[in-house]
């Protein structure tokens, strides 16, 4: 940008040096004018929005933060201290919200498993990690290591699944569901696109059935009648049955997301691979799936977030996920009537984790974009 030209000089056409933009269009005033007060209607909307925010902050801010009570023994004690939210209901039971009824002496095991989860996620989520291939194999072994750590056996005392609960249970269901449904969902999607009639019909029937019924009915099946389908006398753990059902359910949704990606691959990709003499399996593995999965990422992440959120449904068949703990706490006469505080706390946990997942997916989408997408939108 050049300095102000002297006002009196005249220039030949096309030679006038660039003038700085008018002051009202730059900086903070310019931004305010362009984004908040560009027209009378827009200004009205701004005023309305500010008023709404004021109402919300005035009502919720005081209740949630300034007038709230963090530590107390009961609801009555809370009310004696201040008029706002009684977060003591959460702080006194924080252990249960995190671990359920996992024995206190063994809690280092889920803690370690959680730390390992973060470590295992690094090579999965980020491609710029050194020795990624080897680390990926370690990550593939993670579910088994974590299962051993949390459940026990082979030298560790066994902790029954009935004692798992809280956010730990949410993570168990989420991680198991995602790692089991991913391969299954891809296979189902390939089956639905297959040229083999029998495979196609069976995959389609499974997908449409799973997507057509609510998850809660499948969980009821897992809890009340799955044993009928097994030889008389056999019975296995409720949590394992739930994990199987959740994984199958998520696999059907995942298959639809992957199918969207498969359908977007142009026919020429198959023909080119065939012309090069690649076998059908190699074509699928090396040519089709890498492109299709890339396209399917947003849909797949949506399925994963959905699975993670739907893990709360297990409370209805009696598992003690965060909502189960919340209900148990609220049934206590000391904390009766504090549903708003308790559920808001659980909501915060889910919001933070789901929001992080969806941000990651946006980042990955941008990073993997190789220029085939349409011009950016206004």
């Amino acid at each position: 940008m050049t300095a102000h030209p002297p006002p009196s000089r005249s220039y030949p056409p096309g030679e006038h040096p660039d003038l700085p933009p008018p002051p009202a269009t730059t900086g903070i005033p310019g931004w305010l004018r362009a984004n908040l007060f560009s027209s009378p209607f827009n200004s009205l909307m701004t005023v309305l929005a500010v008023w709404l925010i004021y109402l919300f902050v005035d009502a919720a801010g005081g209740w949630m933060i300034f007038d709230s009570v963090l530590h107390a023994d009961s609801r009555v004690a809370c009310q004696a201290i201040d008029s706002g939210a009684c977060w003591a209901v959460v702080t006194t039971r924080l252990d249960q919200f995190v671990y359920g009824f996992y024995p206190a002496a063994e809690r280092w095991r889920p803690n370690l498993a959680f730390a390992l989860l973060l470590a295992a996620l690094v090579p999965v989520l980020f491609s710029a990690v050194p020795m990624r291939r080897a680390l990926l194999w370690c990550a593939a072994a993670y579910p088994f290591v974590a299962a051993w750590l949390i459940h026990g056996g082979f030298g560790l005392p066994v902790v029954e699944t009935g004692r798992y609960g809280g956010f730990m249970l949410t993570l168990i269901i989420g991680v198991t569901g995602i790692s089991a449904s991913l391969p299954l969902g891809i296979l189902l999607a390939l089956g639905r696109q297959s040229k083999l009639l029998a495979l196609r019909i069976l995959s389609t029937a499974f997908i449409e059935f799973s997507r057509g019924v609510p998850l809660i009915t499948l969980l009821f099946v897992a809890s009340t009648m799955l044993n009928y389908f097994l030889p008389p006398g056999t019975s296995f753990d409720l949590l394992v049955r739930v994990l199987i059902m959740v994984s199958l359910f998520a696999a059907a949704y995942l298959a639809e997301a992957v199918r969207g990606g498969l359908q977007a691959i142009p026919r020429g990709q198959y023909e080119a691979a065939e012309a090069l003499g690649l076998s059908r399996w190699t074509t699928t593995r090396r040519i089709i799936l890498p492109q299709a999965l890339k396209i399917a990422i947003p849909g797949m992440v949506n399925v994963f977030v959905g699975l993670y959120k739907d893990s709360t449904l297990v409370v209805i068949i009696g598992l003690l996920d965060p909502l189960g703990i919340a209900r148990a706490v609220l049934a206590d006469a000391k904390w009766n009537g504090l549903a708003t505080e308790t559920y808001l706390f659980v909501a915060l946990f889910f919001f933070l984790s789901c929001f992080a997942i969806s941000r990651y997916s946006l980042w990955l989408e941008r990073r993997l974009a190789t220029g085939h997408q349409r011009a950016s939108m206004p």
Binding site: T46, G212, P214, F220, Y228, E274, T312
Partner: protein, 398 residues
């Protein structure tokens, strides 16, 4: 590497059978079908053995032979606890339908509003819409149901101190009380006039379209017609002596009498489902609108269409093509999520047939099969209708 394709199938004799693609295809399919049917047969055999061991039978007769024996807190049709399990299931199904319909309506209105606000040029407004969308989409729906139920139960006052709106709508933690219309004789004349008005508007609209096609002159005939029809209906209403009165709820003893009572479970469930789903719909609407190429707007404006007509005639029809398929799946999700009613004690299909009937009769197999079949039938028929709609709406390309 040999890669037999359809071309080599003509001289199948030259390749070994396990390399022959046709043979392999058939073998794989037979193998898969045999495996699946084997597992299914094995499972059914186990069911039979288990049922025999427990002295159970498989029969749907309990549905109409046994009295249900439980009460239902919201009934759209008459029902007592002496009615059959089938009737109880029907009451539950209707409750599911009511929640789904009201929830879908609310979610659509909210979702479209928020989706459009999200595209607002006003930074503050679009940020508020963004926060709303992210909060609704990233919280489990069951949690939202319990949260809203908790808020209604714990923060609204008892019926005696109920919040009153104009003396006819009352909000309390025992339910929302709204006036109900009572229809008196003479009302049918108003209905007849109203229908005639509708017909007239339709005819005027057609006339206007024809005139526009023939002469290019546009006149808002439909608008005139609508005004006339409304005026005629209002006139008829008063001419017939205002044949609709309101039955207002009034406090008698410990609770309200008269009007319509919306139980807290219904309000919490419907509102939570609408709240949750509206976030997804808002995102659909937003992505649908921005998917329409900017050149379309420019071209429409260059042709002289006003901003409103550009939106109505150019942008929206193209955006709807993108919006509608995910919109339907949002509706289906809402319908399926209404099964979470059982968590707060709203008696929907799952809570009646799959809940109390299941535990009372001990017929897990029959009740769950029936519940799943009903949901499956609804889902499949809606997505079937959707596919037809999509095929008709699809962009015709070369």
């Amino acid at each position: 590497m040999t890669a037999p394709s359809a071309l080599s199938s003509g001289h199948a004799g030259t390749v070994r059978p396990w390399r022959n693609e046709n043979v392999r295809t058939v073998a794989v399919q037979i193998g898969v079908v045999l495996a699946v049917f084997g597992i299914v047969a094995w499972a059914i055999g186990n069911v039979a053995a288990n049922f025999a061991a427990l002295d159970k039978t498989f029969s749907f007769r309990f549905l109409w032979e046994l009295p249900a024996g439980y009460d239902i807190n919201q009934r759209l049709i008459s029902y007592t606890n002496q009615d059959s399990h089938l009737r109880a299931a029907l009451v539950g199904l209707l409750n599911t339908g009511l929640v789904a319909l009201v929830g879908i309506f609310l979610a659509t209105v909210l979702g479209f509003a928020v989706g459009i606000l999200r595209l607002s040029h006003n930074w503050l407004v679009s940020r508020i819409a963004y926060v709303y969308v992210e909060f609704t989409r990233n919280t489990p729906v069951l949690l939202l149901i319990l949260l809203w139920h908790g808020i209604i139960i714990n923060t609204l006052p008892h019926p005696r101190q109920a919040l009153s709106f104009g003396g006819s709508v009352f909000l309390s933690n025992r339910g929302f009380y709204v006036p109900s219309p009572v229809i008196e004789p003479g009302f049918w004349w108003v209905v007849v006039v109203f229908c005639a008005g509708l017909l007239g508007v339709a005819l005027l609209y057609r006339h206007g379209r024809r005139q526009m096609a023939a002469t290019g002159i546009r006149k808002p005939y439909a608008l005139y017609g609508t005004g006339l029809a409304i005026a005629a209906t209002v006139l008829a209403f008063y001419a017939a002596g205002a044949p609709v009165t309101l039955d207002r709820p009034a406090l008698r003893g410990f609770n309200y009498q008269g009007g319509v009572t919306l139980i807290p479970e219904f309000v919490a469930l419907t509102w939570a489902l609408a709240f949750y789903t509206s976030g997804f719909i808002a995102e659909n609407v937003r992505s649908g609108i921005i998917s329409v190429d900017r050149g379309q707007t420019d071209a429409a404006r260059a042709l002289g269409l006003t901003a409103n007509r550009t939106m109505k005639l150019v942008i929206l029809p193209q955006a709807m093509r993108v919006i509608v398929p995910p919109l339907t799946s949002s509706y289906l999700d809402l319908m399926k999520n209404s099964s979470l009613a059982i968590a707060i004690g709203y008696m929907d299909l799952v809570a009646t047939l799959g809940g109390i009937t299941l535990t009372q009769t001990g017929r897990e197999m029959e009740t769950m099969l029936l519940v799943m079949a009903i949901y499956l039938a609804i889902s499949l028929s809606i997505s079937w209708g959707m596919n037809i709609y999509n095929r008709r709406q699809r962009l015709v390309e070369r």
